[in-house]
Subunit: 334 residues, 2 copies
């Protein structure tokens, strides 16, 4: 079994495919909804539903601190959490390039199981396609997810108001730099690990104590892109202070070396929150008690000036416009 590989015939709908799916995918993921093996999962649900999707094409599929499986669960769980939803059920769809080692697929599925357990979600439906060699890059994963939103919760990129505080849940840039360094074979003195993590429990704790207006996970395009999106959706300005933005010394060093700006580097285990000024302290205190929020910091505020724009007070005291990325920074980081 150790050097067995996925063949094109595993995607044909026949016996090989049924065996592959049963042995490597549905058995480790088993739960009563998935086990019915109908074309759709069926379950009862009531209320406001959140529904999201993401395809993951990260290269390489294994990187320090995670792999494409953990990423695919956490990314979709976090997208649900950004609307204040309790993530419940995920779909899981593989596009496999012919030649993928069974052992690699097994390792990724067990990483999916672990991440789903940590987040408290179930994989209830799925799909597996195999494409010929050279038509994909080892493995792409799509996860979609549904969750329920409690009555009274209204979190959206449109809700930022002047006076609100801007919080990030921890250090920036870890995921992007971890993937990039693995891809390029770079070695740093202290190894940089991806921050890839499910943040739904952190978010639930934040909602329990504070008045949360917007949540977004700063993945592709990093903090800069996320804040620009919120400023645009809410028609407000956002002011941040460079000195208050948490970045680890290792990521700072790697970014200097590589000519990257950590504000634009992807994160996979961080949340950006816009919170009423009145509850910012309480939320921050609570966040710092959570493993995934221990480096949380207030980094700025929402303002009436320069609507749609993000401005940063730099280390040297100047004001710099933080724009959307114009070109390409790091492809295939998630």
């Amino acid at each position: 079994m150790t050097d067995e590989r996925v063949l094109l015939a595993h995607g044909s709908g026949g016996k090989l495919m049924h065996d592959l799916i049963r042995n490597l995918i549905t058995s480790p993921l088993a739960n009563p909804i998935l086990d019915r093996l109908d074309d759709s999962a069926v379950f009862d649900i009531t209320g406001r539903l959140a529904f999201t999707t993401d395809s993951y094409v990260v290269k390489p599929i294994f990187f320090p601190g995670g792999d494409i499986g953990r990423l695919a669960v956490c990314g979709t769980v976090n997208d649900l959490a950004t609307t204040g939803a309790v993530p419940l059920y995920l779909s899981l769809s593989f596009i496999i390039e012919e030649g993928l080692l069974f052992a690699d697929l097994e390792r990724i599925v067990s990483s999916i199981v672990a991440a789903a357990n940590e987040a408290g979600v179930k994989i209830v439906t799925g799909d597996t396609k195999v494409v010929d060699r050279g038509s994909a890059d080892r493995l792409f994963i799509n996860t979609s997810g549904v969750g329920t939103i409690r009555e009274g919760i209204n979190i959206s990129g449109r809700n930022a108001r002047p006076g609100d505080s801007v919080i990030v849940s921890g250090t920036l840039g870890d995921h992007g730099i971890a993937v990039m360094s693995q891809r390029e074979g770079l070695k740093f003195q202290s190894p940089i690990l991806s921050d890839c993590a499910p943040l739904n429990n952190l978010v639930a704790e934040m909602i329990a104590v504070g008045d949360i207006r917007c949540l977004r996970d700063p993945t592709r395009g990093g903090l800069a892109t996320t804040l620009n999106e919120i400023a645009g959706q809410s028609h407000v300005g956002i002011k941040i202070t460079e000195l208050s933005i948490p970045v680890s010394p290792a990521v700072t060093g790697a970014c200097e070396l590589l000519g990257l700006d950590p504000l634009y580097v992807a994160n996979e285990g961080k949340m950006v929150a816009i919170i009423s000024a009145a509850s910012a302290d309480k939320v921050l205190t609570r966040m710092r008690q959570n493993h995934y929020g221990c480096d949380a910091a207030v980094i700025g505020e929402v303002v009436t000036e320069h609507p749609g724009r993000v401005v940063m007070k730099t280390r040297l005291g100047a004001n710099r416009i933080i724009d959307l990325l114009a070109g390409e920074l790091l492809p295939r980081i998630c």
Copy 2:
């Protein structure tokens, strides 16, 4: 614009990506839920939910009778319909190979819009990734979908009972042969078109008049695979009669030429239904009044003998076991 192409930078999360998504994807698909542009779609829903996912990797992306966009909508709508659900909302995730023509993407998105309108579903959330040349094959699409199931409806591959009738909604093999002939540059006297179509309205009409036990769309692996799955899930035998299985003369001819068995060729606009014998006539009559069911036929029955197995009475009167496909037939047909 006509020879503009997608660049790697279009996937970076920056300005280029925002422009591409707005101009080519979210504008044509606009609806109030999608237009919020949060990381998750949010809507109210109550009751039993069906949830499904499929990734589409068909090659080529344009084929006679359809394209990957129409396929991605219809496939997921049909998977929802197989549980008796009313399909409501779809997610849409693109994995684009660098170099895809804007014009091709536009054409596919407008085909998605048309299919979604026909099915009465809305695209409410999405994702776009771009990978470097050679890391994908032009375009892969994932759609996931949710729909609601009316109380009292219980349709599952587990519900077939001895005595039930087996119905197919029309001719078999059209999709697989259409894609295959396009890919291989084969020309037949009468062109063979993919049957790719949303069947949710047909299914709703069937449910309205009859006692439907199982529904499944015979895609990859064809009718043979679908019937084997149902026989396995329901622990029953299935007997079919070759002479009663509708296959168009053109597909019959092409299959003979290519050495393919239409029972194993993929369909994308057909439904296999297991129906109580008492209501089979009524359901069949109703199906034949629907454009997508006009060639519907009873092709066999569920039996107590040979549980888990499908047996076909051939044209010559012999009994042949119809097994799962052992190897590979037609890769990347959906």
